[in-house]
Amino acid sequence: MTIQHVVFIILSAIALIGALGVVLSRRLFRSAIFLVLSFVGVAGFYILLEAGLLAMIQLLIYVGAIAILIIFAIMLSRQAMVADDKVLNEQWAPGGLVAVLLLAALVYVLVQVNWQVVEGAVPPDSIQRLGQSLVSSNGFVLPFEVASVLLLVALVGAVIIAREK
């Protein structure tokens, strides 16, 4: 049991408690706060996996942008601090059953499989490689450009859809 294992267990506790809080909390505003907790736990996973840039992106985009956007939407759409009397629809029991069965099947398979793990440290210039891979023609320049067009379309679309007539 090394320090990495301990950190991993703490991070998974943060991420999973946050996720459970999101789906179980009766007040939507609290769900959003738990969602931030879960995002921070996942950012910790990225740091543990030596993907520092991705951890920063996670904090900036998910915690900084998406969570704030969700909180804004909650504030705009109803009284945020009031607990709903009915938060679940009538199919929550089969839905929960599906989720539990899927989790059991996934865990069974994931533990059974013998993963072919490559030993080796992450190269020190990994962020530089990531940047070059995103814009080089034998890398991922096409998905990169399509993603930027998608962001532009989503920006314009969100403004038009949410605009008051």
């Binding site: 999101v22 490689r129 989503a154 008051e164």
Partner: protein, 105 residues
């Protein structure tokens, strides 16, 4: 001694299934969107864990690039989804998805 790969995969599977339960059981459209965000996060943990453990040395950095693309699509999805929810709320005064069912036969 590193954490085994399967630990990451199991935690990501748990995150995914919690998000799935949220999507299937919530009445509020914003709650459903939060469940979708949890599921996308779980997928990203899987992608980065596979990059780190299976393919850390190749120059293309495939797993991290995929994770960045997924984050981009998630941001676009959240923006458009929340705009739709605001528009529905403006017309119907509710974000309860069981009440918004004109397209149902």
């Amino acid at each position: 001694m590193q954490v085994p790969l399967s630990w990451y995969l199991v935690v990501a599977a748990a995150l995914f299934c919690i998000g799935l339960y949220g999507v299937l059981s919530r009445r509020n459209a914003i709650g459903i969107l939060m469940g979708v965000e949890l599921m996308l996060n779980a997928v990203n943990v899987n992608l980065v864990a596979f990059w780190r453990y299976v393919d850390p040395l190749r120059a293309a950095m495939t797993g991290q690039v995929f994770a960045i693309i997924v984050i981009t699509v998630a941001a676009a999805e959240a923006a458009v989804g929340l705009a739709l929810i605001i528009a529905v709320y403006r017309n119907r005064r509710t974000v309860d998805v069981t009440q918004v069912d004109e397209l149902k036969l």
